[in-house]
Protein backbone atom coordinates (compact mmCIF):
# COMPACT_ATOMS: atom_id res chain seq x y z
CA UNK A 1 0.00 0.00 0.00
CA UNK A 2 1.18 3.50 -0.74
CA UNK A 3 2.28 5.62 2.21
CA UNK A 4 -0.31 8.13 1.05
CA UNK A 5 -3.14 5.74 1.87
CA UNK A 6 -1.84 4.24 5.10
CA UNK A 7 -3.33 6.79 7.47
CA UNK A 8 -6.52 7.54 5.62
CA UNK A 9 -9.77 5.74 5.16
CA UNK A 10 -9.02 4.41 1.72
CA UNK A 11 -11.27 1.56 0.71
CA UNK A 12 -8.83 0.30 -1.87
CA UNK A 13 -5.11 -0.21 -1.66
CA UNK A 14 -2.44 0.03 -4.34
CA UNK A 15 -2.94 1.98 -7.53
CA UNK A 16 -6.71 1.59 -7.32
CA UNK A 17 -6.62 3.51 -4.06
CA UNK A 18 -4.60 6.30 -5.66
CA UNK A 19 -6.90 6.42 -8.67
CA UNK A 20 -9.95 6.56 -6.39
CA UNK A 21 -8.69 9.89 -5.01
CA UNK A 22 -8.85 11.52 -8.44
CA UNK A 23 -10.45 9.08 -10.88
CA UNK A 24 -10.77 11.34 -13.91
CA UNK A 25 -7.32 12.88 -13.62
CA UNK A 26 -5.50 9.61 -12.97
CA UNK A 27 -7.63 8.02 -15.66
CA UNK A 28 -6.55 10.67 -18.13
CA UNK A 29 -2.94 9.84 -17.38
CA UNK A 30 -3.64 6.19 -18.11
CA UNK A 31 -5.40 7.01 -21.36
CA UNK A 32 -2.22 8.59 -22.68
CA UNK A 33 -0.18 5.56 -21.59
CA UNK A 34 -2.45 3.47 -23.80
CA UNK A 35 -2.71 5.90 -26.70
CA UNK A 36 1.00 6.31 -27.38
CA UNK A 37 1.31 2.75 -28.66
CA UNK A 38 -0.79 3.64 -31.69
CA UNK A 39 1.59 6.33 -32.94
CA UNK A 40 5.14 4.96 -32.91
CA UNK A 41 6.74 1.52 -33.41
CA UNK A 42 5.96 -0.58 -30.30
CA UNK A 43 9.40 -2.16 -30.01
CA UNK A 44 11.06 1.26 -29.99
CA UNK A 45 8.60 2.50 -27.38
CA UNK A 46 9.11 -0.54 -25.20
CA UNK A 47 12.89 -0.34 -25.36
CA UNK A 48 12.64 3.30 -24.32
CA UNK A 49 10.16 2.56 -21.53
CA UNK A 50 12.34 -0.23 -20.15
CA UNK A 51 15.55 1.79 -20.38
CA UNK A 52 13.86 4.62 -18.53
CA UNK A 53 12.62 2.21 -15.86
CA UNK A 54 16.12 0.89 -15.38
CA UNK A 55 17.59 4.38 -14.99
CA UNK A 56 14.83 5.61 -12.67
CA UNK A 57 14.73 2.41 -10.64
CA UNK A 58 11.08 1.68 -11.38
CA UNK A 59 11.10 -2.07 -10.74
CA UNK A 60 7.48 -2.66 -11.69
CA UNK A 61 8.02 -0.97 -15.05
CA UNK A 62 11.13 -3.00 -15.69
CA UNK A 63 9.36 -6.26 -14.95
CA UNK A 64 6.32 -5.51 -17.12
CA UNK A 65 6.21 -6.05 -20.87
CA UNK A 66 4.10 -4.35 -23.46
CA UNK A 67 2.06 -7.05 -25.20
CA UNK A 68 2.17 -4.97 -28.36
CA UNK A 69 5.95 -4.85 -28.34
CA UNK A 70 6.18 -8.59 -27.76
CA UNK A 71 3.73 -9.15 -30.61
CA UNK A 72 5.91 -6.93 -32.77
CA UNK A 73 8.98 -9.06 -32.09
CA UNK A 74 10.65 -7.75 -28.95
CA UNK A 75 12.78 -10.53 -27.45
CA UNK A 76 13.96 -11.07 -23.89
CA UNK A 77 17.47 -11.42 -25.27
CA UNK A 78 17.29 -7.84 -26.45
CA UNK A 79 15.77 -6.65 -23.17
CA UNK A 80 18.58 -8.33 -21.26
CA UNK A 81 21.14 -6.50 -23.42
CA UNK A 82 19.46 -3.12 -23.08
CA UNK A 83 22.10 -1.54 -20.87
CA UNK A 84 24.73 -2.26 -23.53
CA UNK A 85 22.70 -0.86 -26.44
CA UNK A 86 25.55 1.38 -27.72
CA UNK A 87 27.74 -1.62 -28.57
CA UNK A 88 25.51 -4.70 -28.60
CA UNK A 89 24.98 -6.15 -32.10
CA UNK A 90 21.38 -6.88 -31.14
CA UNK A 91 20.43 -3.22 -31.67
CA UNK A 92 20.08 -1.53 -35.03
CA UNK A 93 20.71 2.13 -35.84
CA UNK A 94 17.08 3.14 -35.33
CA UNK A 95 16.94 1.56 -31.90
CA UNK A 96 20.24 3.17 -30.94
CA UNK A 97 19.03 6.59 -32.06
CA UNK A 98 15.86 6.19 -30.00
CA UNK A 99 17.70 4.97 -26.92
CA UNK A 100 20.23 7.76 -27.20
CA UNK A 101 17.40 10.30 -27.25
CA UNK A 102 15.66 8.49 -24.39
CA UNK A 103 18.66 8.71 -22.11
CA UNK A 104 19.32 12.36 -22.86
CA UNK A 105 15.63 13.16 -22.39
CA UNK A 106 15.81 11.67 -18.93
CA UNK A 107 19.11 13.27 -17.96
CA UNK A 108 18.55 16.81 -19.27
CA UNK A 109 16.27 17.85 -22.10
CA UNK A 110 18.14 21.12 -22.42
CA UNK A 111 21.26 19.31 -23.56
CA UNK A 112 19.54 17.42 -26.39
CA UNK A 113 21.13 18.22 -29.72
CA UNK A 114 19.65 18.73 -33.18
CA UNK A 115 21.58 15.64 -34.30
CA UNK A 116 19.95 13.45 -31.67
CA UNK A 117 16.45 14.43 -32.78
CA UNK A 118 17.39 14.27 -36.48
CA UNK A 119 18.71 10.73 -36.05
CA UNK A 120 15.29 9.61 -34.85
CA UNK A 121 13.22 11.69 -37.26
CA UNK A 122 15.14 10.57 -40.34
CA UNK A 123 14.39 6.95 -39.43
CA UNK A 124 10.79 6.98 -38.19
CA UNK A 125 9.36 10.22 -39.58
CA UNK A 126 8.04 13.44 -38.12
CA UNK A 127 4.74 12.34 -36.59
CA UNK A 128 6.23 9.21 -35.05
CA UNK A 129 9.10 11.24 -33.62
CA UNK A 130 6.66 13.62 -32.00
CA UNK A 131 4.71 10.63 -30.66
CA UNK A 132 7.89 8.93 -29.50
CA UNK A 133 8.95 11.99 -27.48
CA UNK A 134 5.43 12.34 -26.12
CA UNK A 135 5.64 8.70 -25.06
CA UNK A 136 8.95 9.35 -23.31
CA UNK A 137 7.21 12.06 -21.35
CA UNK A 138 4.22 9.85 -20.55
CA UNK A 139 6.30 6.86 -19.46
CA UNK A 140 8.56 9.06 -17.38
CA UNK A 141 5.72 10.75 -15.53
CA UNK A 142 3.94 7.53 -14.62
CA UNK A 143 7.19 6.03 -13.40
CA UNK A 144 8.08 9.10 -11.36
CA UNK A 145 4.61 9.28 -9.85
CA UNK A 146 4.64 5.61 -8.92
CA UNK A 147 8.07 5.95 -7.34
CA UNK A 148 7.03 8.94 -5.26
CA UNK A 149 3.87 7.16 -4.13
CA UNK A 150 5.60 3.82 -3.63
CA UNK A 151 3.00 1.87 -5.53
CA UNK A 152 2.93 0.15 -8.91
CA UNK A 153 0.22 0.97 -11.44
CA UNK A 154 -1.91 -1.85 -12.72
CA UNK A 155 -1.20 -3.03 -16.29
CA UNK A 156 -4.38 -1.24 -17.38
CA UNK A 157 -3.27 2.03 -15.80
CA UNK A 158 0.16 1.73 -17.41
CA UNK A 159 -1.19 1.01 -20.89
CA UNK A 160 0.34 -2.45 -20.74
CA UNK A 161 -2.75 -4.65 -20.63
CA UNK A 162 -3.33 -7.05 -23.52
CA UNK A 163 -5.60 -5.64 -26.18
CA UNK A 164 -9.08 -7.07 -26.14
Amino acid sequence: MSWLLEQGEARESGWAGIAALAPRAVGALSEVQEEVWDHAPPVLLELARLRMASLLGATWALEARSPRAVEAGLTEEKVAALSSWPTSPLFDDTERACLDLTEQFLIDVNQITDAQVDAVRERIGTAATYAFVSALWAFEQLQRMSLVLGVAPTPDAAGLAPRT
Partner: protein
Protein backbone atom coordinates in the same frame (compact mmCIF):
# COMPACT_ATOMS: atom_id res chain seq x y z
CA UNK B 1 17.39 27.96 -27.11
CA UNK B 2 17.09 25.08 -29.59
CA UNK B 3 15.78 25.76 -33.06
CA UNK B 4 12.64 24.03 -34.23
CA UNK B 5 13.61 20.39 -34.73
CA UNK B 6 10.60 19.16 -36.69
CA UNK B 7 9.68 20.29 -40.21
CA UNK B 8 6.77 22.44 -39.11
CA UNK B 9 5.76 26.03 -39.75
CA UNK B 10 7.44 27.98 -36.94
CA UNK B 11 5.17 30.96 -37.54
CA UNK B 12 2.07 28.95 -36.59
CA UNK B 13 1.82 29.24 -32.84
CA UNK B 14 -0.61 28.11 -30.20
CA UNK B 15 -2.24 30.55 -27.80
CA UNK B 16 0.57 30.08 -25.30
CA UNK B 17 3.33 30.56 -27.84
CA UNK B 18 4.54 27.05 -28.67
CA UNK B 19 4.74 25.84 -32.26
CA UNK B 20 1.44 24.41 -33.47
CA UNK B 21 1.72 20.64 -33.88
CA UNK B 22 -1.92 20.00 -34.70
CA UNK B 23 -2.22 17.44 -37.44
CA UNK B 24 0.65 15.24 -36.30
CA UNK B 25 -1.12 13.12 -33.68
CA UNK B 26 -4.38 14.89 -32.81
CA UNK B 27 -5.89 12.10 -30.73
CA UNK B 28 -2.74 11.76 -28.66
CA UNK B 29 -2.64 15.53 -28.14
CA UNK B 30 -6.28 15.58 -27.13
CA UNK B 31 -5.61 12.95 -24.48
CA UNK B 32 -2.44 14.69 -23.31
CA UNK B 33 -4.40 17.92 -22.92
CA UNK B 34 -7.07 16.16 -20.91
CA UNK B 35 -4.59 15.37 -18.14
CA UNK B 36 -4.12 19.05 -17.42
CA UNK B 37 -7.82 19.84 -17.69
CA UNK B 38 -8.73 17.08 -15.26
CA UNK B 39 -5.93 17.98 -12.85
CA UNK B 40 -6.98 21.61 -12.66
CA UNK B 41 -10.64 20.64 -12.49
CA UNK B 42 -9.93 18.93 -9.16
CA UNK B 43 -9.41 22.39 -7.74
CA UNK B 44 -8.33 21.37 -4.26
CA UNK B 45 -4.96 23.06 -4.49
CA UNK B 46 -5.19 26.82 -3.98
CA UNK B 47 -4.25 28.83 -7.08
CA UNK B 48 -1.10 30.39 -5.61
CA UNK B 49 0.38 27.08 -4.50
CA UNK B 50 -0.53 25.57 -7.85
CA UNK B 51 1.13 28.43 -9.70
CA UNK B 52 4.28 28.18 -7.59
CA UNK B 53 4.49 24.47 -8.35
CA UNK B 54 3.99 25.13 -12.06
CA UNK B 55 6.60 27.89 -12.06
CA UNK B 56 9.17 25.85 -10.13
CA UNK B 57 8.89 23.16 -12.78
CA UNK B 58 9.06 25.77 -15.54
CA UNK B 59 12.25 27.21 -14.09
CA UNK B 60 13.86 23.81 -13.61
CA UNK B 61 13.05 22.80 -17.18
CA UNK B 62 13.92 26.27 -18.49
CA UNK B 63 10.64 26.18 -20.43
CA UNK B 64 9.97 29.61 -21.94
CA UNK B 65 6.30 28.98 -22.70
CA UNK B 66 5.66 28.00 -19.10
CA UNK B 67 7.68 30.87 -17.67
CA UNK B 68 5.87 33.39 -19.84
CA UNK B 69 2.41 32.06 -19.02
CA UNK B 70 0.45 33.36 -16.04
CA UNK B 71 -2.63 31.77 -14.50
CA UNK B 72 -5.13 34.63 -14.12
CA UNK B 73 -6.79 32.95 -11.13
CA UNK B 74 -3.44 32.69 -9.38
CA UNK B 75 -2.62 36.32 -10.17
CA UNK B 76 -5.93 37.40 -8.66
CA UNK B 77 -5.24 35.25 -5.61
CA UNK B 78 -1.87 36.86 -4.99
CA UNK B 79 0.68 35.13 -7.21
CA UNK B 80 2.39 38.38 -8.13
CA UNK B 81 5.67 38.55 -10.04
CA UNK B 82 7.43 39.09 -6.74
CA UNK B 83 5.90 35.94 -5.27
CA UNK B 84 6.68 33.85 -8.35
CA UNK B 85 10.27 35.04 -8.26
CA UNK B 86 10.67 33.30 -4.91
CA UNK B 87 10.58 29.80 -6.40
CA UNK B 88 14.28 29.72 -7.25
CA UNK B 89 15.33 30.03 -3.62
CA UNK B 90 12.11 29.04 -1.94
CA UNK B 91 13.64 27.53 1.18
CA UNK B 92 15.01 30.93 2.17
CA UNK B 93 11.89 32.77 1.09
CA UNK B 94 9.06 34.09 3.19
CA UNK B 95 6.49 31.57 1.99
CA UNK B 96 3.99 29.52 4.00
CA UNK B 97 5.30 26.09 4.98
CA UNK B 98 2.53 24.41 2.94
CA UNK B 99 3.88 26.03 -0.22
CA UNK B 100 7.45 25.09 0.62
CA UNK B 101 6.40 21.48 1.12
CA UNK B 102 4.69 21.52 -2.27
CA UNK B 103 7.86 22.90 -3.86
CA UNK B 104 9.96 20.24 -2.13
CA UNK B 105 7.67 17.68 -3.73
CA UNK B 106 8.40 19.20 -7.14
CA UNK B 107 12.13 18.86 -6.57
CA UNK B 108 11.84 15.32 -5.24
CA UNK B 109 9.60 14.29 -8.12
CA UNK B 110 12.06 15.62 -10.66
CA UNK B 111 15.32 14.59 -9.05
CA UNK B 112 14.91 11.64 -6.68
CA UNK B 113 11.42 10.12 -7.02
CA UNK B 114 12.63 6.78 -5.68
CA UNK B 115 13.80 8.33 -2.41
CA UNK B 116 11.67 11.26 -1.36
CA UNK B 117 12.34 10.53 2.30
CA UNK B 118 10.27 10.07 5.44
CA UNK B 119 10.42 13.75 6.34
CA UNK B 120 8.85 14.94 3.11
CA UNK B 121 6.23 12.19 3.25
CA UNK B 122 5.31 13.27 6.77
CA UNK B 123 5.23 16.94 5.76
CA UNK B 124 2.97 16.16 2.82
CA UNK B 125 0.55 14.27 5.05
CA UNK B 126 0.63 17.12 7.56
CA UNK B 127 -0.09 19.91 5.07
CA UNK B 128 -2.14 18.18 2.35
CA UNK B 129 -4.90 15.62 2.12
CA UNK B 130 -4.10 12.46 0.09
CA UNK B 131 -6.34 13.76 -2.69
CA UNK B 132 -4.43 17.04 -2.74
CA UNK B 133 -1.12 15.18 -3.04
CA UNK B 134 -2.47 13.27 -6.01
CA UNK B 135 -3.64 16.55 -7.56
CA UNK B 136 -0.17 18.01 -7.11
CA UNK B 137 1.38 14.96 -8.76
CA UNK B 138 -1.01 14.94 -11.71
CA UNK B 139 -0.47 18.68 -12.19
CA UNK B 140 3.27 18.03 -12.17
CA UNK B 141 2.94 15.19 -14.64
CA UNK B 142 0.94 17.47 -16.87
CA UNK B 143 3.15 20.53 -16.70
CA UNK B 144 6.29 18.51 -17.34
CA UNK B 145 4.88 18.11 -20.81
CA UNK B 146 7.14 21.07 -21.45
CA UNK B 147 9.91 18.48 -21.77
CA UNK B 148 8.40 17.52 -25.12
CA UNK B 149 8.48 21.17 -26.21
CA UNK B 150 12.09 21.59 -25.12
CA UNK B 151 13.21 18.36 -26.80
CA UNK B 152 11.71 19.22 -30.17
CA UNK B 153 12.35 22.96 -30.18
CA UNK B 154 8.63 23.72 -30.02
CA UNK B 155 9.09 26.13 -27.14
CA UNK B 156 8.61 29.88 -27.34
CA UNK B 157 11.67 31.69 -28.69
CA UNK B 158 11.71 34.52 -26.24
CA UNK B 159 11.90 34.91 -22.52
CA UNK B 160 11.50 38.65 -22.26
CA UNK B 161 12.55 40.41 -19.13
CA UNK B 162 13.48 37.40 -17.09
CA UNK B 163 16.85 36.04 -16.06
CA UNK B 164 18.02 32.78 -17.51
CA UNK B 165 17.96 29.84 -15.17
CA UNK B 166 21.20 29.19 -13.35
CA UNK B 167 22.79 25.96 -14.65
CA UNK B 168 22.81 24.50 -11.15
CA UNK B 169 19.04 24.51 -11.07
CA UNK B 170 18.66 22.30 -14.12
CA UNK B 171 17.02 18.97 -13.61
CA UNK B 172 19.70 16.26 -13.63
Amino acid sequence: MPALRLPLDASRRTAVGSVDVSGLTPELDRKKGRIMKEAYRLGQIDPVTGELVRMRNARLQDCHVCQNFRDPAAQQAGASEAVLALVDDYEAADLPERQKVALRLVDAYLTRPDDIGDELRADLLRHFTPAEVVELLVRLASTTGNRVLRTLGLDDDALPGRDQLAPGLRVP
